[in-house]
Symmetry: C2
Subunit: 223 residues, 2 copies
DNA sequence: CGTCCCCTTGAGTTATTTCAACACTCGTGG
DNA sequence: CCACGAGTGTTGAAATAACTCAAGGGGACG
């Protein structure tokens, strides 16, 4: 397993200058960092690995992954352009992160972050706030996984994605059906069938499998 | 809906002195607070309510609850003696909390906490750490809800409960089957049947429905 | 043109839910 | 002291949502 530490050391992916580039982690919290490229399905960091960096998506998309010993997989979150991820309070990462598509990722050293938090109470508060926001999102997702039907899960997912992209109705999904299934706690077949059903019911249009247009009646399928 | 604010104002439940009692929220973080009693199924705070207090279980047990508009319920966590809950970074609570059984709860004013965090960087860090620990627990739970079978869910639940109580093998469950079902994303019937199955398979003994003794083969049902 | 990967669709299976009935415990009041 | 009722837990039988297995379609790329 290739560690990020090793990657940064030999810097096979590093682009841009490694010194001065400023990365804004939260409004008012900008720190020196650098950017790296990761290609589709490449691991950005692994579970149990030392959390020496904090990350922000510059382009592309990232998934948080947890795996059971027998291979069952659960995706905890997708991170899109502008999202910060991999911020841990403890020493190690609690899950692994992988590039959904080719990505450009900004990195900030954890040590720089700790220093900023120690000096500035407001900055410390904003870091806490980032973690707190993750917690909120996870609680919504827990409700989805514990209590919603396949139809509701897919509809919720599409609506959630649409509120994050630029346009109101057109959504493009960088991730595969397999990623969506592991995010929603379903199988790829169920996800595929549900997309088809939503299209038959005129709740969405699917120009292609990665491009979805939401119609207003989709909200009825959500809860 | 009776708000906590109102309760504290008229103090129908307040016991002990409301001034000097020290509550330890985390190792090294102790603040002045007071205690209140809540009876079984009483609401401690509600979703959307102002988060003016932080809470710690002195005796009894508490559940975090989220409800869908049609009544489907998901319990996000159980808090046992010693656990801190209701700590929000933002202004309002993201879920409601209810007493599973008659409870004694210690309360600390949020304002006192903020003051401590502003003055002491280490205290601020410990608050962040508390939120971070909640996040970790929730991620495990997400994997359970998304990818585990009913048998695995119940086994995981029992093992998790056993590591929190005093003794190694004997677990007592203060919560009803309905609470367990809403925590594990199952129905009460499935939970009940799974307990019966585990007992038939000699993975547990059930002297009564709230008292469970775990046998070592239970671990095999977990993942 | 062929291969690989991903997505879709169909048919049959199964885990879990739903609906229904019954058992147990524990107060309360006759 | 016993009868009653409410609340809670268990069990059975039938229904069903989602899964599994299997086959085929379509686009990207060499």
């Amino acid at each position: 397993m290739q560690t990020l530490q090793a990657q940064v050391g030999s810097a096979p992916h590093a682009v841009g200058d490694q010194t001065g580039k400023s990365v804004e982690l939260a409004p008012g919290v900008a720190l020196a960092g650098f950017t790296m490229r990761f290609e589709r399905n490449e691991e950005i960091f692994a579970e149990e690995e030392e959390a020496d960096f904090v990350y922000k998506v510059v382009s592309g998309a990232v998934r948080d992954v947890r795996i059971l010993s027998d291979g069952r997989r659960q995706i905890g979150a997708f991170h899109l352009v502008g999202d910060v991820f991999g911020l841990e309070c403890g020493e190690t990462h609690l899950y692994s992160a992988e590039a959904v598509v080719d990505c450009e990722i900004a990195l900030v050293r954890r040590s720089a972050l700790d220093k900023a938090a120690d000096q500035d109470g407001a900055a410390a508060r904003k870091l806490w706030d980032l973690t707190s926001r993750d917690l909120l999102r996870l609680q919504d997702h827990m409700l989805l996984l514990g209590r919603k039907s396949a139809l509701e899960r897919v509809a919720s997912f599409l609506i959630r994605m649409s509120t994050r992209g630029a346009a109101g109705e057109a959504v493009d999904l960088p991730m595969s059906r397999s990623d969506i299934a592991d995010y929603l706690g379903l199988t790829i077949e169920t996800v595929s069938r549900t997309f088809t059903q939503l299209e038959r019911d005129r709740a969405i249009s699917m120009p292609s499998s990665r491009h979805i247009v939401l119609h207003n009646r989709l909200a009825m399928a959500d809860s």
